[in-house]
């Protein structure tokens, strides 16, 4: 009896997948582990591996189709067998959606010869794995759970295709499959010279996620906005000194030395300010407000086709240097599209920074379920009046806070900004 393959659930938040393209065609003979197709989820584009050796009888969904998780995408069975109707599958018999179950037919074909047991009977051929199980070592399973890696999607390098620890480590640090080509259906330039036709660009899953989450935030979270101007001169001076010393300490490897960004200071200062004003490090939970014990800092990283928010975990317990190193690693992963879902979830507060584009001040939309988002503008040289009443050249930076008024009131938000401003204006406090 033919098996129907469903659209797999490839991430926690995936509800719909775009079948970017098929790598196989009807009539192909498929082995365990062959790549069936590429599916774009809300987070990444991933390859779907075959788990049922056989012949591809029927493709139900063409390349480019968007399908809810669990919808049939193809059928695999014996050569010459009729493809079942996509709806023919009895609901209770449905396979677990994810991880895709791995049948061990291939492994079973290679009998393992047991060690001498002292019993004088002929060695029996034992299948490495029985039934619909992913062949993975116990250690690999534990690692996968920790790293949020889907074992069923891995190709094991151990005997009989067993997934071992190194496979999980490789998967957790490997780039996600490159984002599939987006169908940009631009109308062919006709004779209408000089007229630029409109174009409908299909929305990527990342863009759809951004749209859904920000709309949800903006319509369900009562935002309020606070803004303050920070004297950035001490911070810039400290940053220059530290970077100079870091470069000196690195000696001939100076080009590889850690270089602290303004944003690193803002992340570190935020963690400390949240510790001082814990009311802001909280979430609206319907009938209660949850204050978070740890500070998990998300920060926005702009990508060509969207935006991701990797998370520096337990930032309250990390030094400036650790925060900076981790942020840099996360940015590099984000740009290489290597971030795992686990690295993009669980934040308690978010920082967004458009200072590098010269934006002087703005207010971000809250990253639900955070209670606040900090928006950082450019540092600008402008005249300021000093304590003696003289007009001086100051280095000023505008920071804006968007707060969830259900969780944080204006006064608490103001206290937080005040604490943050103090940290930024007296950056030596970050050393404490």
């Amino acid at each position: 009896m033919a098996d129907i393959i469903d659209m797999p659930k490839l991430s926690d938040t995936m509800t719909v997948g775009t079948l970017v393209k098929w790598n196989v065609k009807e009539g192909d003979t498929l082995a365990f582990g062959d790549i069936l197709c590429e599916v774009e989820t809300d987070k990444a584009t991933m390859e779907v591996q075959n788990t049922i050796p056989g012949v591809l009888l029927k493709i139900y969904a063409p390349g480019g189709a968007q399908l809810p998780v669990g919808s049939p995408i193809c059928a695999i069975g014996k050569k010459g067998e009729a493809a079942p109707e996509p709806g023919a599958k009895a609901a209770p018999a449905a396979k677990a959606e994810a991880p895709a179950p791995a049948k061990a037919a291939k492994a079973a074909a290679v009998p393992s010869i047991p060690e001498s047991t002292g019993v004088s009977c002929a060695p029996q051929a034992l299948p490495a794995v029985s039934g619909d199980r992913v062949a993975a070592s116990p250690y690999a399973k534990r690692m996968a759970e920790k790293a949020g890696v889907n074992l069923g999607a891995l190709r094991g390098t151990g005997p009989g295709g067993r997934v071992v620890g190194n496979d999980v480590i490789a998967a957790a640090s490997a780039p996600a499959a490159p984002t599939g080509p987006v169908n940009v259906a631009v109308a062919a330039p006709a004779d209408g010279k000089g007229i630029q036709p409109d174009a409908d660009v299909p929305v990527s899953n990342m863009r759809q996620t951004i749209a859904r989450r920000l709309l949800e935030s903006k319509v369900t979270v009562p935002h309020f906005y606070l803004e303050t101007e920070v004297d950035a001169a001490p911070l810039l001076a400290l940053r220059e000194t530290l970077n100079k010393r870091l470069a000196e300490a690195a000696g001939k490897d100076a080009k590889d030395a850690l270089k602290l960004s303004v944003n690193d200071f803002i992340l570190k200062a935020s963690a400390e300010a949240l510790r001082r004003v814990p009311a802001v490090n909280a979430s609206w939970a319907g009938t209660s407000i949850r204050t978070h014990g740890a500070v998990h800092l998300a920060f926005g990283v702009a990508l060509e086709d969207g935006l991701v928010t990797p998370v520096v975990r337990d930032a309250q317990a990390k030094s400036l240097r650790d925060v900076a190193l981790e942020a840099k690693a996360l940015i590099a992963k984000a740009r290489a599209k290597k971030l795992t879902p686990a690295e993009m979830s669980g934040s308690t507060y978010t920082v967004t920074n458009l200072g590098m584009y010269g934006v002087t001040g703005f207010f971000g939309i809250i990253n639900v379920p955070n209670a606040a988002i900090l928006s950082v503008g450019a540092t600008v040289a402008k005249p300021v009046v000093d304590a003696q009443g003289r007009i001086m050249v100051g280095q000023r930076m505008v920071i804006g806070l968007s707060g969830d008024h259900r969780v944080v009131d204006g006064a608490a938000g103001a206290q937080f900004l005040q604490a943050l401003r103090q940290m930024l204006e007296e950056p030596a406090l970050m050393m404490l």
Binding site: S116, T117, G118, P138, Y139, A140, G165
Partner: protein, 325 residues
């Protein structure tokens, strides 16, 4: 530090304990006038006299029984078996009486006896003289079993065995008697139930005891040089009590295990270890536990075949690569 042979290290332990405690006596076939079948007890008769170093008739069941009776009355006899293979004729004494008397007397009678002697194959002495009964004996509650691999451990374990209040059976190895190693002059013991990491590594744990430790260390060298594999070698030293913590800590570090022993595989020491590791470190295993033991046949008399029957470095390397696959 003085360098002693394995044989001299055991002799030093006996001499020091004979001198330290007047209740310690040495008994066995030819231990006194002939200086021991393998010269372990050489010179002890001269030094301590015939009341402390006693030749016995060729009757293992008889003289082991004498030792057990003496130990129940407060003597600490160190009994020599010319081969542990001969323990089988004294099995009732060794297992039934020595192993159970403390329990059956409700803790009133201790049996602080030590039985020692070589227990190994590999010397072309045939099936009846090549037994390695550590697994058989260690399967009995009430009995302690140690298998030293180095001169240092041989002396330290022997002294710990003599001072222990329960029967302790020390399995030596004729092939190791001339092996040399550093052995401190001063009084020290190696506590029963403490394994030793003989080589630190990261990719694979080999657990072994007795001479298999030395075979495993040679294999670890080859694995490092020819295969770039970093191997940790854990020497059990003591079969019972068993140092679970050291074994499990190493497994949790490397995630892969190869068990090596010169026993026959069926119901061997490593069968017990494999159970222990899968039960207590299941989630740390990255591959099935591997085993290299003697080939499952009566000890082969043909020397070239016996050399293959007992684990050698090549077989250990092969077994390791299987676990590392």
């Amino acid at each position: 530090m003085p360098v002693l042979s394995y044989r001299e290290a055991i002799r030093a332990a006996l001499r020091e304990e004979l001198a330290r405690d007047e209740n310690v006596v040495v008994m066995g076939e030819e231990v006194a006038q002939f200086n021991g079948a393998y010269k372990v007890t050489e010179g002890l008769l001269k030094e301590f006299g015939p009341r402390r170093v006693v030749d016995t008739p060729i009757s293992e069941a008889g003289f082991i029984g004498v030792g057990i009776g003496a130990s129940m009355l407060g003597i600490r006899p160190v009994m020599e078996l010319m081969f542990w293979s001969f323990s089988y004729v004294a099995f009732d004494q060794i297992v039934n009486n020595a192993g159970n008397i403390r329990y059956m007397s409700g803790g009133l009678i201790n049996c602080p006896i030590v039985i020692r002697g070589p227990a190994n194959g590999g010397t072309n002495v045939g099936a009846t003289h090549s037994h390695t009964p550590e697994a058989i004996l260690a399967s009995h509650p009430g009995i302690k079993v140690v298998c030293p691999a180095t001169p240092y451990d041989a002396k330290g374990l022997m002294k710990a065995a003599i001072r222990d209040n329960d029967p302790v059976y020390v399995m030596e190895n004729t092939i190791l008697y001339n092996d040399k190693g550093e052995v401190p002059d001063e009084d020290y013991i190696v506590p029963l139930g403490s394994a030793d990491v003989k080589r630190v590594g990261a990719d694979l744990t080999i657990v072994a005891h007795g001479r298999a430790v030395l075979t495993s260390l040679k294999a670890a060298e080859i694995l490092e040089k020819e295969h770039g594999v970093s191997v940790e070698v854990v020497d059990l030293r003591s079969i019972r009590p068993l140092d679970e913590a050291t074994v499990l800590a190493s497994v949790r570090k490397t995630h892969r295990v190869l068990l090596v022993e010169e026993n026959k595989p069926f119901c061997g020491v490593d069968a017990q270890l494999a159970y222990l590791i899968q039960a207590k470190a299941f989630d740390d295993l990255d591959a099935p536990i591997g085993r290299v033991s003697s080939i499952d046949a009566p000890q082969i008399y043909c020397k070239p075949l016996e050399d293959i029957q007992i684990p050698n470095p090549a077989r250990v390397v092969e077994g390791a690569l299987k676990v590392l696959a």
